[in-house]
Subunit: 265 residues, 2 copies
Amino acid sequence: MSVFDTATAVTAAGPGRWTADLSEGWAIGGGLNGGYLLATVGRAVAAALPAKPDPLAVGAHYLSATRPGPAEIDVAVLRDGGSVGTARAELRQGDTARIAVLATYGDLDRGRDDVRTTATPPALPPPEDCVANEPPPALGDAVSLLGRFEMRFHPDHVGWARGRPDGSGVLTAWFRLEDAREPDPLSLLLVVDALPPVTFTHGLMGWAPTLELTAHVRARPAPGWLRVTHATRNIAGGMFEEDCEVWDSADRLVAQSRQLARLPR
Amino acid sequence: MSVFDTATAVTAAGPGRWTADLSEGWAIGGGLNGGYLLATVGRAVAAALPAKPDPLAVGAHYLSATRPGPAEIDVAVLRDGGSVGTARAELRQGDTARIAVLATYGDLDRGRDDVRTTATPPALPPPEDCVANEPPPALGDAVSLLGRFEMRFHPDHVGWARGRPDGSGVLTAWFRLEDAREPDPLSLLLVVDALPPVTFTHGLMGWAPTLELTAHVRARPAPGWLRVTHATRNIAGGMFEEDCEVWDSADRLVAQSRQLARLPR
């Protein structure tokens, strides 16, 4: 099994309950990466909705910083009929709630085959001409996360990594998991929260805690590198929205997400 | 009390439980308007989090069509500390779940006063030069909703109302509630789902059932007309995303939302 599949594994522990052993390999800032946690919860939801294999819309509210180690995930199915099923899930460590999730699942192979996407994929030079990810100095040792995947940034858009943020509010990179683990709908729940916060482009180099993140998985991704864009247009009131798009190697827009996060202090 | 405030009122009915009498005045397609229901649930959440008056991030999964008449809303507070509180809520009619919600509330007056919004408000002629809303013929008698507010569309962008959809994927209008009821953070939960589906611009004139909608309220709106934009960039697999922006009379981007909806049949 790949590192990703091992780290997001869940074990049935009774009706509506799963356990997970959260890996320190996904640490970032003051806790574990929000996308890693979302994918782990997503596995428990998939187990609770066996006839609806794929996440379609998954929304998470982050309640407190999650630590490596044991966690329990409670899942309650709210609807399971027709083409979609909906469940709520909560991940806890001891008595402390970490994440609350609402998720609607279905089968991406059963959708209509019409595609009228007007969005266009990001323009990126080939991966070998892009800039590999390195831990941002401001985050220091707290970044085991960056070993979990490869990111390759557009060489013209990494001023933030060199002390010259461009203020664009847009961040774009190639992305793939370690172990040559190919993307699937579940892993896209990680991908939408894997890049650095888009506020890096404004020179705000700290960790930006997510309050809420909702992901829509729109198609089963083709194998190969993904292209990921983060963008923000509304930094205000100490918070910002971050929109993410994930494009696969077949030029399909396979996932969209938006999160509301706090600005770094 | 305005029609909006009366129709969204909730009554305490025990610990963590509220009742509502859902008004037939908000009917659309096969049920009641999703934004109306979100605002009603939002009132119960506000009552459960008295020190956190304003919705910041509210996500809803729509489980079944809601009917006019009595409903119960169960609210469980998951976190209430520091500057934000989070609750989950479910609206039921009898034994049938209608909507599941996760909501993070706070106080919009306590945020930092920085505004670095790079998004720009939609360009609209003055309301008196725009086109008033009329019930789309395809929806027939099932549209009591349109009496609840005024919409004034850009005169160059209403081809869809005249049998000549422009395929733009963008819909923009002025908006205000009836009774001269001024906007507030709670009413924005209605506003983000009040315009016709953006798929009208593609000539798809039917009702588009929402699977999931998440709204971010980013500032307390100034009095007066709001400007509302709906946009879609990814119609595929029988579904589409609809992004909504709400701008107030002071040119502030006060709310953003995204929903995942099914294409009309």
